[in-house]
Amino acid sequence: MSKIKIVNLQKSFGDFTAVKNSNLTINDKEFFVLLGPSGCGKTTTLRMIAGLELPTSGEIYLGDEEVGMLRASERDIAFVFQLFALYPHMNVKNNLSFPLKMQGYSRSEIKARVEDAAKLLRIDHILNSNISSLSGGDRQRVALGRALVRRPKAFLMDEPLGTLDAEFRELMCLELKKLHIDIGATTVYVTHDQLEAMSLADRIAVMDGGEILQADEPSVIYNKPATKFVASFIGSPGMNFISIDQGISNEQSTLNIEGTDFSIPKQYEISKGKKNSFGIRPENLSLTNEGGLKGSVFGVEYLGSRKNCYC
């Protein structure tokens, strides 16, 4: 297992810059999630770490070794694809042993490793099945198994739960978490699903437009978002934003909006401009008859454990 570090990483496709000057350090044994909307550069970043794309500039370190220009096969990492990419012409056992065959392990070692991984993922009963006969969840387990058997330096996962049904997704999410606790492997996980990210990650990097906006623990990302985009992307229902045309100084502790004073956290940077946004999470709002902001309800969602009101 290894630490992963990327330094000033950049990737352009013609005129389009997919990843801009990114820096990240992913600690050993960490479950790290790259989160962002589609087209934000998270998958490209992951593919560069894997060696499936070569960076335009910048460096990638796996452990202490600079691997930016190495071939994927020389990096000793495992990759779990969104579409699983299980070889359809092989059965489960051959899919699992395929990576080991290349590395010249003995037959008995291959057998032992495949059985270990199968047991861990609870797929030992389907080792002789064809891929086409498996359910989505089992395919996902086989794909994870194929990554596990090699005991690589790091696991890279590109939206591995993206194609699963909702019920499977929650189940697999828990299994992934448990798996990570069991084997403690450095994992980089790409997703656009903020719930998945929050529940799995030790740390999250939120990306947009090819840039890493914030990289921190889920609670910090949620409570102290670095930019308006991060604030709006995390949380469901999303944060409320109110445009204000006043600057904010760094000692200010209240903000007056439409006659109501809101207490605000201490500012670390002064917003001198006149165009600012005030954001507040829905759960921090409460109903009042005295003053406050006015609004009328236009929709109510009944979700069992709670209701969402839109106004």
């Binding site: 894997a50 060696g51 499936l52 071939r71 994927a72 096969s73 990096r75 990492i77 495992a78 990759f79 694809f81 579409l83 699983f84 990419a85 299980l86 070889y87 359809p88 012409h89 395929f98 990576p99 290349m102 590395q103 064809n130 891929i131 086409s132 989505g136 395919r139 194929r146 090699r150 194609t163």
Partner: protein, 314 residues
Amino acid sequence: MDTSRSYLEPSSFSKKLAATIIIVYTVITLIPISWMVMTSFKNVNSAISYPPEVLFEPSLEGYVNLFTNRSRQSQEYLDSLPAPETWYEELVRSREMVITGPSKFLGRYSNSMIIGFGSTFASVFLGALAAYAFSRFRVPLKDDLLFFILSTRMFPPIAVAVPIFIMYRKLGLGDTHLGMIILYTVVNLSLAVWLLKGFMDEIPKEYEEAAMIDGYSRLQAFFKVVLPQAMTGIAATAIFCMIFSWNEYAFAVLLTQFNAQTAPPFIPTIIGEGGLDWPAIGAGTTLFLLPVMIFTIILRKHLLRGITFGAVRK
């Protein structure tokens, strides 16, 4: 109203109509072929009798004549010979002839095999590599190159017969197996590249990427992961290439005489005594049909299987 039937399902009338059309078409197509097979089992007289005989006494005379050279002898000479040792000698003797040696048919037939399978293998192999490159890599001028490859099919190959004839003479490729394999490969290659590119495009690139991450080089990944999944396309392409090079007549007549002559130009030269030996010609063409038929039947199971078997959700 009948609600048990979906709107997308064809009515039973149109199903029956479709079945009838297919059956009629099949019968029409099969008549000449079955006539040819029947002719090969007739004797020389019943093959040309009028009205044509549908029911006849089967004979292997055509096949014996196909594989042997014979000469007519007087009855006294035949009587002086020891009794025939084999059934086919007896058959030939009963027509007042003796076998003088094997005919050239077997040699021509094996030439057809070598050239047909050789060029099919070469076209599919080279076509698969080129198709993979066109499908996966950023090839400069990709569209123009693909169009150029296609354009080689826009004229009939025989249009370049004269330059090829001269080139082959100068290069010493005339009447050689290698020359014919190269020629048929070149003609088939454009078809192979275009057909296979379509199939390669359908194979998600994640398969090779997964293999490359697992430690395989791109070429190893191509052979271990891409080719097995392109089997449907490879089978279809191989059948098309095989049919062309197996049946090709014009170049075979032009460029081969002795050493590398294939079966198509040879079969029409089978002439019996006092008229065409139709049963022998029928036997030759029947045997000529078999390899392509067997080849297609063997590859058929790959044609029927889907490409990705649903291992990837799209």
